[in-house]
Symmetry: C2
Subunit: 194 residues, 2 copies
Amino acid sequence: MINYPNRKQNQNIVTKIKSHSYRGANLEDDLNQTNQYYLDLNKANIHKKPTPIMVVKVDYPSRNKAKIVEAYYKVPSTTDYNGVYRSKAIDFEAKETNSQTALPLKNIHPHQLEHMRNVEYHGGISFIIIRFVYYNETYLLYFKDLDLFMKSNDRKSVPYAWIKENAYLIPFSLTPPIHYLKVLDETLFKGEFK
Amino acid sequence: MINYPNRKQNQNIVTKIKSHSYRGANLEDDLNQTNQYYLDLNKANIHKKPTPIMVVKVDYPSRNKAKIVEAYYKVPSTTDYNGVYRSKAIDFEAKETNSQTALPLKNIHPHQLEHMRNVEYHGGISFIIIRFVYYNETYLLYFKDLDLFMKSNDRKSVPYAWIKENAYLIPFSLTPPIHYLKVLDETLFKGEFK
């Protein structure tokens, strides 16, 4: 019985690891870990942008220390992630959905779509990383393909079946959890850097 | 006398325009205006990243409305601006100084320097936009040149005279206020897109 507290703690860890291997962490954590891995291994320099916040009031409880006491979240005008890989400007958004049938398009703001279109226009590479939590599957969908989909119909969501066919499944590994640059290597750079 | 309030207002406007032409707005405003100009004219897609803030406590005074009531500024781990221009990943930091003699290097965090070095390694274009408020001059200094400077000595600041010789003066105009991409066109792309 003396060991009980420790045993309980260990069990919790095991449960966590197990549940991770089944479900994965949340998409943002997985992407942060992946980007850190890319940075550490000198593969790419890709970062999540800070969440845009409108600061209204700041207090200075002590010299040199600013405490924000009133602020609000702003609607992002660009995507969440960007950086550089193999001399290319990379720009993407990440979306998680619990739906078993489709990715609702209302999850992506119109100015984010406009932003991705514009990045492509200037020669950057833009895509969306989509996780279907129910299936524990993560896809890379090039913005160009999504754009064609949106122009060919006026559905309010992108069907799971369509994504399965037109996006690329990112295989899950531990290091890194979401090796999305591998998809770029195989589909965009087509092995030219091997 | 009836016109007095209007006249005063007009005088204010004139003073503002005049003082703007002499001193310029602050560097961040000028850059935001310049980047918006580039975006509107389809020249480039470059944005200021949101300021990184660590949110500690959020209240919900009403449904769907989140009010941040405790938060702190974080030290930025990357640069302030990035995006894409002529298929190239652009990444830069902006610094204003009141010094007449040098840009203090303590203004730039070591991990920001590390970040810029890394962006260059991956094929992006990294630089610093420096404004000497006293002279009302704004320069573009390529990170590569700054890096050579830092490696060749251990000064704690970059002398104004050295910047005059090794950086590029960005001519002031009204639209856009800081046409820094012109410097890239003339020095990096060397007219290849004319």
